[in-house]
């Protein structure tokens, strides 16, 4: 009999309360990072809300499997990335999503060394989303991960299953593509 969805036993209640209290600290510390990743990766507020909830529920269920080999932040990112990629894959299976052509941005004159100027910060989120939507999932993910100062290149490489050198090279192109397209959203 599958007990996974059965109401917790009365004897489990104190343990559940302790686990929930501990987990609320995990949520407090990492929810912004996970929500931001899902928001900008999926490009939709309500989907990001659902995804963040689902990621933390999965993490709560698997907390006993957390070995501490990676940081909690990295472990949560791994769950979030898998979750988001599965969602995007299922949408792609149902509808054909427009694919981006990064080659266009890769060949645009480099502007990565010049500052990105912003006049209206209230529209900044929209401009950033528009820009990220044009990029490939891979570039988008790399840019979002490297923006988190808690992650090293090694950790990003482990999260995306690539070597550190490969991450560096792709990030260079991703930043260039971002800067070129961001200018066009003005």
């Amino acid at each position: 009999m599958d007990n996974s969805s059965v109401e917790p036993d009365r004897r489990d209640r104190p343990l559940l309360q302790t686990a929930t209290a501990d987990f609320s600290k995990v949520y407090e510390e990492h929810s912004r990072a996970i929500y931001y990743l899902t928001l900008r990766f999926l490009g939709d507020g309500s989907r990001a809300e659902d995804a963040t909830h689902d990621v933390f529920v999965k993490a709560f269920r698997r907390l006993g499997q957390f070995r501490g080999e990676a940081s909690m932040r990295t472990w949560l990112y791994r769950i979030a990335i898998n979750h988001c990629q599965n969602l995007v894959q299922s949408w792609q299976n149902r509808h054909v999503l427009p694919s981006s052509d990064d080659a266009v941005w890769d060949t645009t004159p480099a502007r990565t060394d010049s500052p990105l100027r912003v006049l209206e910060t209230k529209e900044l989120g929209q401009r950033i989303q528009k820009t990220l939507d044009v990029l490939s999932d891979e570039y988008r993910l790399l840019l979002l991960l490297v923006a988190d100062e808690e992650l090293s290149y090694e950790e990003i490489g482990a999260l995306v299953g690539q070597s550190t050198d490969s991450v560096r090279g792709k990030l260079h192109r991703a930043r260039k593509a971002f800067a070129a397209h961001f200018e066009r959203t003005n």
Partner: protein, 73 residues
């Protein structure tokens, strides 16, 4: 006199606000821009409420056995 002072203070505040609004903000890289964006992002409080309800429905996470930590499985 008091009203005049209040009026000029308000004017100054409006002018200051206008100046800030018209001032371009510069970000040296996409990393910096995204960090700024992330810091501005507010996590919807509804997620925490939903999580609390969900946590009450799931069984508490079982600790991984020490032999599984060593030998896997």
């Amino acid at each position: 006199m008091k009203h005049q002072n209040e009026f000029s203070q308000k004017q100054e505040h409006i002018e200051e606000h206008r100046t800030q609004a018209g001032k371009a903000q510069e970000f040296s890289s996409s990393d910096e821009l995204l960090r700024f964006d992330a810091a501005q992002t507010i996590v919807p409080p509804e997620i925490a409420r939903r999580l609390q309800r969900s946590a009450a429905e799931v069984r508490p996470p079982a600790a991984r056995s020490w032999w599984k930590n060593i030998f896997g499985g």
